[in-house]
Symmetry: C2
Subunit: 424 residues, 2 copies
């Protein structure tokens, strides 16, 4: 890329972000009925133009074949009739969610008669930087529209035709509903310079949410001058306490590891109290083995479950995203919590126990976006926790911690009703 | 400074920040009674060691004299008996505030029986970078301790002896109360390299709050790899609607401008509807003149108030922090809101009117951290809005928008109580 092309990309990205900022107030002040009508038009647009979407998607698949994309990557890229219907269904689920914007909370009368409250408002313009799956274009846009935010989307180069086609349909639907098309803006440039340019638009974009692998997220967080909500990885632990109920605990552990091993809320390390290890470990090892899970164990685990591959120091804190589980026997709950502090990722941790005091202490002291008692780590998900759809899971504590739903895409401003109050 | 000195400063700052992170869990899990006892010891320490504080403060005053510090700066630096008592009183006010940590909100039962809620928790380690006034050392530390956070303090070089002395007393009080002294950490280095080193400690510090002039805040925001809560400036507007009540509106405007002109929530620009301008402007001009306020007016203002200095384009959006007021006559509320959008700083805006519909529309559509109806802009303050003490005012929307009290120094994690739930 020449210098002047970089300059052209920067100018183009700046113009797109400014257009989104100009469109933002119209979306922020639109009522729920107007936003829902636009969402319905978006969903109908995707359904009625499925043939066009598949045509554009075919270009990406063709380019992927030329570049030798793996079968798994190609599958993630594919848009067929069923997946297009799923995207449209996803938008309709967002229509059904309550609108977080405009309500006033905690209205209180101050001693001088001033009535003070907090009104929930959109953040403004949200930038989403994502990889591969084209459905993110529709999912993210729907959540932003419903929460009154404009959005600037920058998808991966491998899905450029599919993403551009989805964005075009969504923009047409917004326009037809009387909202500005630029409230859903799309950066149609595959060069990485477009990301760098986007991350410098601090006057137009209020928040950046990267969705993808740890590499993408770290590089975005390092370069961005705009606040970034991060989710690096999920190294989730279950601690099986000395007072755990063996059979249900085995069931929860197998679910946490094996029900869907490739996702961030799957268990990666199992910590077992030494008093229960002789009774528990052989049973959980057998159940895991039936699911095809390979163990990497500490010396005590290897002793109790002969044939287990010994764990190395590198196994603690590893996010396998696979049918592999690290297992460690610990002398106490304190040791388990210390292990989590050193090797965890602040994502999801669970204790399995019948002891109330230890359950409550674990819940209070473990520093993770979701801490569970007697349930699977797989519940760290916006739908499962009752938020409706989610735009991602934050593992940093500023602004949001854990799954981010519609409310986490808003903030609140103070409002005050007076009758001539002055400060003394 | 030589390379090796820079290296030494970096190592020292890194060690201090790591020590704060190590101390953070003890503070996060301390109960309200323990934290309040520590705060009382901090307050008593300041009172009983007033002589030592004044001795150390004298060194800063002496150094300031040598460097030719202005009278205003010298006054800001001074610690006398009354100011030391004020600092101690400030800590006692924090004792009286409710502890935000540990409560669980929105506990709901999911269809599978899982009980899900959100537990309020501290952020972890907060970095405060501030200038001149030594009382910030005590104020900020007290708010962090009460909200369960460890804090790393880095004050201005002109107050280094005073700040170090205050920090020493606070640390001794923490230690005597059974909490780790490092929960209040202080960087005793005046070189700017210490700030740069602090802003790179993303593994130890969770949030940076800069307190000082716009220059300091911009430089911190640009360099930081840690999230920063910003407050650049307060260019506050009052819009006097065509249906305003003249006499009370004059009183509110004079209060907003003249009660304390040097602070961020003072009014800087007055916008007046053209229909009320002939009745309102001469009266407000007369009242302002009695308070020593000089006007800078648009052509219509100059016509209605002969002798007014004409405003230039540069006056719109200027934060005078002085007895100067920009005045503009506007043809409509839309024009006033457009002026605020272009020249405002998202800080504080007010409408003065008897018209309910316009009041509600202004409240909803103006994008500021506090929007008022019929009251002075001077109310944008943690005490006035009912938050108790404040650590600053955020004019960006991520995490907090407006005054930040104890609750804004916390976040929430999800907690879930199950009885063996697994994901289907």
């Amino acid at each position: 890329m020449t210098m002047s092309e970089t300059g052209t990309i920067e100018t183009m990205v700046m113009d797109i972000c400014r257009a989104a900022k100009t469109a933002a107030p119209a979306l922020a002040h639109a009522g729920t009925r107007v936003k829902n009508a636009a969402l319905r038009a978006m969903s109908e647009g995707l359904r009625s133009r499925a043939a066009f979407l598949m045509e554009e998607n075919a270009k990406d698949l063709e380019a992927g074949k030329t570049r030798g994309l793996s079968a798994a990557m190609t599958d993630r890229l594919l848009l067929d009739g069923a997946r297009i219907r799923q995207m449209a269904d996803g938008i309709e689920e967002v229509i059904a969610l309550p609108d977080p914007v405009g309500g006033i909370e905690r209205m209180e009368r101050r001693p001088n008669g001033l009535l003070v409250g907090r009104m929930r408002i959109p953040l403004g313009v949200i930038g989403i930087i994502y990889e591969s799956r084209p459905n993110v274009t529709a999912d993210a846009a729907a959540l932003c529209v419903k929460s009154g935010n404009a959005v600037v989307l920058r998808g991966g180069s491998e899905a450029i035709h599919s993403n551009a086609a989805i964005a075009e349909i969504l923009r047409e639907a917004l326009f037809a509903s009387g909202l500005p098309a630029d409230a859903v803006s799309f950066i149609p440039v595959t060069e990485r310079a477009a990301i760098d340019a986007m991350l410098a638009q601090e006057d137009s974009i209020d928040l950046i949410i990267p969705r993808g692998g740890e590499g993408l997220i770290r590089s975005v967080a390092e370069k961005s001058r705009i606040p970034v909500i991060k989710h690096y990885k999920g190294v989730c632990h279950i601690y099986v306490d000395e007072d755990a109920d063996v059979a249900p605990s085995v069931r929860v552990c197998v679910n946490a590891k094996a029900q869907r091993p490739g996702v961030c809320n799957a268990m990666e390390t199992l910590l077992v109290h030494e008093a229960i290890a002789p009774a528990f470990l052989p049973k959980v090892a057998e159940a895991m083995s039936r699911e095809g899970v390979a163990l990497r164990g500490c010396p005590e685990t290897v002793r109790l479950v002969p044939g287990t591959v010994p764990a190395t120091e590198a196994d603690w804190g590893t996010e396998y995203l696979d049918l592999i589980l690290a297992v460690r026997v610990v002398p106490s709950m304190d040791a388990a919590m210390e292990h989590i502090r050193r090797h965890g990722s602040l994502h999801t941790e669970a204790i399995l126990t019948r002891d109330h005091a230890r359950a409550m202490r674990f819940l209070r002291e473990v520093d993770s976006s979701l801490v569970l008692v007697n349930a699977s780590t797989r519940f760290n998900d916006g739908y499962q926790l009752g938020l409706g759809a989610e735009i991602g899971i934050s593992t940093t504590k500023i602004h949001a911690f854990g799954p981010m739903g519609l409310e986490e895409l808003t903030t609140s401003k103070f409002v005050a009703f007076g009758d001539g109050q002055v400060r003394q």
